[in-house]
């Protein structure tokens, strides 16, 4: 596609359930980033991939959060046993190498009831 695609655009779940968020980066982009955006909190870095490997996972808030990337393309962010404080917009971005301009998706709005 022409841009970074994220799905679903909205997800409502019950506390304690697992959720999977998907990101399709722009074709050919080797770097892929996940961020969390909460009101008044700015963009919180979660994890970034260079190809299929994740050089920096330091932003993952807890062991309930994990992410993978396969084939140097699609990435999935998984949140296990969701909590209400996980409610936020989860943004994905991709770029050619790390260090260059990033292109952002429109995000997944996650609401945990």
């Amino acid at each position: 596609g022409a841009g970074v695609s994220q799905s679903p655009s909205n997800k409502v779940t019950e506390k304690g359930k697992d959720v999977e968020l998907r990101c399709d980066p722009i074709s050919g982009h080797t770097a892929l980033y996940w961020y969390r955006q909460s009101l008044g909190q700015g963009l919180e870095f979660l994890i970034y991939f260079q190809g299929n490997s994740a050089p920096d996972k330091s932003g993952l808030p807890s062991d309930r959060f994990s992410a993978e990337r396969t084939g140097g393309s699609v990435s999935t962010l998984t949140i296990q046993r969701t909590q209400q404080e996980d409610s936020a917009v989860y943004l994905c971005a991709s770029g050619k190498p790390a260090g260059e301009k990033l292109f952002f998706g429109s995000g997944t709005q996650l609401s945990v009831l």
Binding site: G3, A31, Y33, Y35, G40, Q41, G42, L43, F45, Y48, Q50, P55, D56, S58, G59, L91, A93, A98, G99, K101, L102, F104, G105, S106
Partner: protein, 112 residues
């Protein structure tokens, strides 16, 4: 640790006023600096970037930013704002690990 700090969280201006948004970064090595903007209901998009060379960089829509190494600053400026500049603005920096860190963001409201 690498960090980015934006001083102004919410700015309200009238049209034609001048704008300056502050940004300071903590990383002391080689930095790549960015300003991104998020218009209401739209994706984040790049306004401008600094990698090296002329410390005064110009971006889209009349924005510019000045890199001052001695002050670890990269402030965003525009001489005359328009109502359409109403948006949230984020400063960001890459450190040597490839991690892009954003500041807390500044919400700009321009009154017509």
């Amino acid at each position: 640790a690498q960090s980015v700090s934006q001083h102004n969280h919410h700015v309200i201006l009238s049209e034609a006023a001048s704008l300056e948004l502050g940004c300071n970064y903590s990383y002391g090595g080689t930095v790549n600096l960015f300003w991104y903007v998020q218009y209401p209901g739209q994706h984040l998009q790049l306004l401008l970037k600094y990698f090296s060379g002329d410390p005064l960089v110009k971006g889209i829509k009349g924005f510019e930013a000045e890199f001052i190494k001695s002050k670890f600053s990269f402030n965003l400026r525009k001489p005359s704002v328009q109502w359409s500049d109403t948006a949230e603005y984020f400063c960001a920096s890459f450190g040597n690990t490839g991690k892009l860190i954003f500041g807390q963001g500044t919400t700009l409201q321009v009154k017509p």
